[in-house]
């Protein structure tokens, strides 16, 4: 996931199409072969249909984070972004998550139904 994260981060910062191309090429050289197709699909903008709403993710966050609701609301207000708040609250040293490949993450997401908290529990299991 770290490679993919860097791919997205660096292409966002890139100033030219050539630079973006170089970054993508670099990623393809280094990435796990099973991840490459997934990554290409995502960077060209093909996305799966949204199957989890913001409201649900927020609800899960409130359930699994070991913090009072009012404090989480305050964090959301200050950060202004749900995904960012989750990222900041998650333990950066969770190696299991860092080493997760894009393919594994995809599979994990496929197993979620709307009442299932596997992914978020996984994300938060070692936090705070």
């Amino acid at each position: 996931m770290k490679l993919f994260y860097n791919l997205i981060l660096n292409t966002k910062k890139a100033l030219s199409v050539e630079e973006k191309g170089m970054i993508l090429l670099q990623y393809l050289k280094m990435a796990n072969s099973k991840d490459k197709l997934f990554a290409l699909e995502l960077v060209i903008g093909k996305r799966q249909k949204r199957f989890v709403t913001n409201g649900e993710i927020k609800e899960w966050l409130f359930e699994v984070a070991n913090l009072p609701d009012w404090l989480l609301e305050k964090c959301l207000e200050v950060s202004g972004d749900l995904a960012e708040t989750i990222t900041l609250l998650a333990n950066p040293e969770n190696e299991e998550r860092e080493n997760l490949s894009l393919l594994e993450m995809g599979k994990l997401i496929e197993t979620i139904d709307t009442k299932d908290k596997i992914a978020l529990n996984f994300y938060f299991q070692k936090t705070i």
Binding site: K13, P68, V78, S79, L88, P92
Partner: protein, 306 residues
């Protein structure tokens, strides 16, 4: 920042930790009386004992311990709990009442150890150097600038500082502190000489003609607020490093616990949230406005002090 406000108001007499004296003297516009104490050395004023204890914020920063007839209060001032390799490291002081700042008192503020941030900064510098461009780092002239100078890898190249930073560096070196070498950024220095080197400038010189002259360059800023994307990309810099001279959420909670205080007074920052959280976790906490915050409310100017 606080010190600047304090100095601007220009009181007649100052009492400070010994290592803070030269910079305070340097920043004052008029002659003021400055009295100093070593850390831990008590001074009795009208039967009340005052002493300073390292706050780890910048060189010479201090918590103030006030003791009267066995009752002890400590005012933290700005502080951070991580040893930055330059400032005197924070020392917890046991007391009955602890007045703590709360600039970053939310769990989303969780600093990485500074060696990781400096690894990242060194790598950024090396990468720029490889591409033949100058690295421009924006930092406050007192505190952040010296912390960065001291922790960057000087084997990569030379560090140039604009006048405001270099003046402060000189004051600090003159007091016998071993600050790593820097070069004053003079107007006659050629573009070629700066290629691949690192230039430190103060926020007010960002985007000025003198800096634009350094092109091609990459800019970076360092602050705890860089933790948030909206600040990171709103500041007009290429790169944001999350480096703060204030305690993060865990640091604040640790300092509160270490004080063993019966009462916690929270000031300057996310006061309401921090006091509420402390109350829900077995502490007796209240918020308290500083003189600055009262003045700020009056003028209704919104700033993010750091």
């Amino acid at each position: 920042m606080d010190m600047q406000i304090m100095l601007a108001s220009n009181h007649g007499a100052y009492l400070c930790a010994a290592t803070a004296r030269p910079v305070i003297q340097f920043r004052l516009t008029s002659r003021a009386q400055i009295q100093t104490l070593e850390y831990g050395q008590p001074l009795n004023i009208n039967g009340v004992d005052f002493s300073f204890h390292p706050a780890g914020h910048i060189l010479g920063s201090a918590q103030v311990r006030i003791a009267y007839k066995g009752e002890i209060w400590v005012v933290s001032g700005d502080y951070k709990t991580e040893d930055d390799g330059f400032s005197e490291p924070f020392e917890p002081v046991k007391c009955h009442t602890f007045i703590t700042e709360s600039t970053f008192a939310l769990p989303i503020f969780d600093w990485q150890p500074q060696h990781l941030i400096f690894d990242e900064m060194n790598n950024w510098w090396k990468e720029n150097q490889k591409n033949g461009i100058t690295s421009v780092v924006c930092a406050y002239s007192l505190g952040k600038a010296q912390r960065i100078i001291q922790n960057l890898d000087h084997k990569i190249g030379k560090i140039y500082c604009n006048q405001a930073i270099e003046n402060t560096n000189q004051v600090i070196r003159n007091q016998g502190v071993d600050l790593k070498p820097t070069i004053a950024l003079k107007a006659d220095i050629s573009r070629g000489e700066l290629e691949g080197q690192l230039v430190m400038i103060t926020p007010n010189s960002m985007g000025t003609a003198a800096i634009r002259k350094l092109r091609p360059f990459a800019t970076a800023s360092s602050s705890g607020w860089m933790m948030l994307q909206k600040r990171n990309f709103g500041g007009g810099v290429d790169k944001g490093f999350v480096l703060s001279d204030h305690a993060d959420w865990k640091g604040l909670l640790w300092a509160v616990k270490q004080s063993e205080a019966e009462q916690i007074l929270v000031t300057h920052g996310y006061t309401d949230a921090f006091a509420k959280y402390l109350n829900e976790n077995g502490y007796n906490a209240k918020t308290i406005d500083t003189h600055f915050e009262q003045a700020k409310k009056k003028s209704s100017v919104e700033t993010n002090p750091e």
